[in-house]
Symmetry: D2
Subunit: 364 residues, 4 copies
């Protein structure tokens, strides 16, 4: 759709002068005509400013380590987190228009102080262990492959009780909340609520039993389960591929297993503004090409492969992160050892607002 | 509320004759006046016909075994199930006005043929193992402490592949469905769909992972998870009591842990018409006395205790079953080894219709 | 499905004796075998005890008037209501297993005192006016064609401020609530809360505006709107038939307009346990034959027609009431002036429990 | 919260150099540290870029009329609509970060061609009449005080069949949909689907009856009712204030009546992304000061008053529009004839995402 003024014919100099006067009057009155803008405002399909981009783990991790040497963590800066900044969104620290993704780094024996905010957060661990995140005073161990939640307005703090540093990925809805101006933030106490290091958090002990609801436990609006452990995720993905081998349903397409992380108290998405999933691709079974309204960020968890995002093509390995702008074609082609990948997206937002849309092309 | 005609004063013989004529005319026209019935129709609080009753496992099991010797199982009778018949509901085979409970018995190498029906069913195993129930062709092992579902209109059949018999408890909503005349029934094939004996069913492989939803699996309206294994139930109850010891929330009242069996695709009750829960009582912590609109059936799973239901008082042990009519006071006092008890009720029905009500009295 | 013991072969006298002993032991233990009952308990399709039946207005009204002469209305009997008693449910005053329907009669200047109960109620006016029902102190005028609600646990009382008597139809879920033992009842004050006679109730002034929700009004779980006026119902039905004439959607089948009375705060059924609808049939357009799981009661509001219910066939006119048992075939054939009919059913109950089912046969 | 690097102490030149190198490496890798940005990203309460602003009808209307003389309406530019451009969001045509508001002008006998888009739209008429908007081929008259809907992906076109021009307000979620890149747009046919001018649209004939649902009509996800007529809105507001005078509930605060425009098929907001309400303030009763997360745009419909938005203070009259950024304090003080005002906001978005928040201060 073109965005020109809808007048094919030449206009006279006088007419042009009158138009110029009109547009100047619009500007003075803080008014903008639709007819000069509609193509940009209302394209026939999404035209994101954000672009496909790949951040390599081999770049991210050394920089995070260097920040660990030079930058303290504490009140004010709050977290030693370095965000992925989409080149198409200059001046921001946003991976996509709705999603914030960062690598966070906590050195040996370091602590990050408590705060809470309306922004929803999670952490995903691609390697390492040794940090506990205390969510409302409940210490949650962080280990390889785990997804850990921090729903909105839950106080949280981190502590590393080991002699090794640890890095992980943070995902938040900071850009979305900033756009709609819905962010509130509060500092917590200076001193951590606890530095205990239990292997299993209290919320897991209450809620991480399949199909079992604790009748006496408070049922918050957000997920009561804060930790999704790799052992369960891995077992669920393994089972889907085995069922496929046996001829039964379970995979989303040939060789492609997916689990969605969900709130056991509602069966909906684990977070109100972000969908989190783990995908497992069997070697030799590339995915169909899909387009989805809304954006996402992926991190390779293990294995390797070739990823197409729009016109870009990336060879990816463990830890690498890439973003998928709205309606960009996405296809994953796993390497010889297959590919495990974590993804988070703004799908719950688009679904809640009636704006979700997906298209799928089978590939030759 | 009294159910007499609202006239305190004596009436004349002529008036009585006119009234008699009127009432005869009502009867002839198939009409019934409210004012002579309202006390029975609309009592100030529920006045169930059903009564508290205890069925001892030591009575039930031998009779089921004897039926195993004398009565074949097969097409027509369909199941060797013997129902608990509430003495207050003569002429029926109902445990309560909404709930059907039976002991089912399958001898060595026996099979029960496939059928399906709109009535919702579950099985609970208080002892033994060796039977698989195939639900829509998916073989589900039945073992001690397990809850196995058969949602409405799912074909199901049973097979015992061992040399030992097995008995278990069936729960259905037969009385409710009969009252509202909503029952449909179909026979399945004469030959079983499978006699495989996998330790884990396919539905569990897809759905029995805490907080993980298989994106590629069909999501039915009824629960996609057909088996709730004792190892999970036991672990969840144990955790609640341990959290209580540590000073954290989780139990419903002191010493009283409860898990509700829920549909992982909706987080609601595992069955549309019946609530299923497992309770664990610590020795020395009797429950409060509660009254609940709607009825329930309990089975002691392990341990012992003293149970009060209305004016009745039962000493109960493993396998014993008792029913709780609507609004009857219920209190459980666990024995020296504590008490584990399974319960199913019509609570989802009353909640769906806006009729749920509970009262609770702390005991001295 | 037959309900015999599943044994084709002759059994020996000794075997019979053993069986007799077993069955006697069952009876002594309050146990009932499934295999001798299953055909009745679980039929292949509903086999209601209730039967189709027609109650003529020309019979009902004179008997109600006679009751007005002989029986006072007041505390204890509470209401001068005479229920339709289904011949298939002897000993009850039930129109169907879930629905209670009655003609209620209030003489000139009479009052009926306040009470409330968990049973849900409505009133429908086939003729006359002059009575106000005060629902929680809000006087609601009752006029021809109006549907007036009394959701559960709302205090209500009636007063006739005219010199003429008035009769109307009451519908309640008394049988359902009695079956599940969920009934609670309370008397209100002896003196009426008000005897005002406004033409429009307060709840209508807040809620009877299409698509407009009063932001400052309390939003109860049950319908906040207590009166559905004939002028709106009539206009909505008229519009549907006019749209059909113009070639646009709106009717449910040719010549058949239907409006459902709904809760404006939820858009669901106006009552939690009963669905209420008004049907208008154009002359010359008989309905398809439909079967529905669950039961209903119809009242002709105006016009005439021939109604088939199961094997019965009724010629009906204004005020006549008939009941439709579960799964009985129903067809309506309007007379030369068409047919307007009010119906209430237990459809919300079956839908809430996942038991709704409908079949439809086009007629030759 | 400050956004400085969390280091109070002076650092050495060498340290600074190392930091500079690190930050340069971040930039090269398209990474941005959180600790330098967190104050802006995550403020303690919303810090909108958008500012309070007032657009006067006396400015808007003449400019729209002038555009009517100079700019044709037709394919490409699509609509002669001039948007309100918030001075705090330069380079955009957005009234707030989520809401688009414009004055649209259609001259005598003019037409605007059909298109559809995922963006949700409505029109509100502050004065005039004569235009019909055809929504999916259903002509909807536009008259003073009416709210007319165009839910997402509904084809719509306008035609003015009179000799007078007409101007009205359009509201859309263009900024929100642009931010999350969820916009799809399609042209419709060049020729209008109809130029009929019925006084009542077909959707109203089916759906604009209080509490009455047409059983035979299709029930879309979006509102089936496209027109909310002033006569109903006015009557509902009048009733709330009368009930207040009589001592009954209904107003949201003294002298302040509010109706929300809702979808009669769901009882939720009339549009998935925008809440629409009409407020009526009685003279002499200023509102409390409220702060709300999320933004809104108001238009005075009749009367006058003084409005405070944040630190701004506006004297307003009929047709004037003003926007309220997130968390800006809002208070309305009606003039001697009271004040009627229409408002639309992004409240459904914040509620769907769990981000809604409101604070209220009673004024001295």
């Amino acid at each position: 759709m073109t965005s020109t003024v809808p007048q094919d014919n030449a206009i006279s100099a006088q007419e042009q002068e009158q138009l110029d006067e009109l547009y100047a009057a619009f500007a003075a009155a803080h008014m903008t005509p639709l007819w000069t803008q509609i193509g940009g405002l209302m394209p026939t399909s999404p035209r994101p400013d954000s672009v496909p981009f790949l951040w390599r783990w081999s770049t991210l991790l050394p920089l995070a380590e260097r920040a660990g040497e030079l930058v303290p963590v504490g009140r004010g800066g709050e977290r030693r987190a370095i965000a992925l900044a989409n080149p198409g969104l200059p001046g921001t620290a946003y991976a996509t228009p709705t999603l914030w993704a960062a690598i966070q780094y906590l050195g040996p024996r370091e602590q990050a102080p408590a705060h809470r905010h309306t922004q929803t957060a999670f952490r995903f661990v691609v390697e390492g262990e040794g940090v506990w995140t205390n969510v409302e005073g409940d210490p949650v161990a962080m280990r390889r492959g785990d997804l850990l939640l921090t729903p909105g307005m839950h106080f949280h703090e981190h502590h590393n009780t080991t002699d090794r540093p640890m890095a992980w990925i943070d995902g938040l809805d900071i850009p979305l909340v900033r756009t709609i101006d819905a962010g509130f933030f509060e500092f917590g106490p200076e001193v951590l609520s606890t530095t205990e290091t239990p292997p299993v958090s209290r919320n897991e002990r209450l809620w991480a039993h399949p199909g079992l609801t604790p009748v006496g436990a408070p049922a918050p609006r957000s997920s009561p389960l804060m930790a999704y452990r790799w052992e369960h995720t891995d077992a669920a993905l393994t089972a889907q591929l085995e069922l496929e081998d046996e001829g039964f349903p379970g995979v989303v397409e040939p060789g492609h297993a997916v689990v969605r992380f969900t709130n056991p108290a509602t069966a909906g998405d684990c977070l109100s503004t972000m969908r989190c999933e783990m995908h497992r691709l069997r070697a030799g079974t590339p995915t169909a090409l899909t387009r989805t309204a809304g954006s996402s960020v992926w991190q390779v968890f293990s294995g390797s492969g070739v990823v197409s995002v729009g016109d870009e093509r990336y060879e990816v390995g463990t830890g690498d992160l890439f973003c998928v702008p709205s309606w960009a074609g996405l296809a994953l082609d796993p390497g010889p050892d297959g590919l495990d990948a974590f993804v988070f997206s703004d799908a719950p937002v688009l679904e809640a607002l009636g704006l979700a849309r997906t298209a799928r092309e089978d590939r030759p």
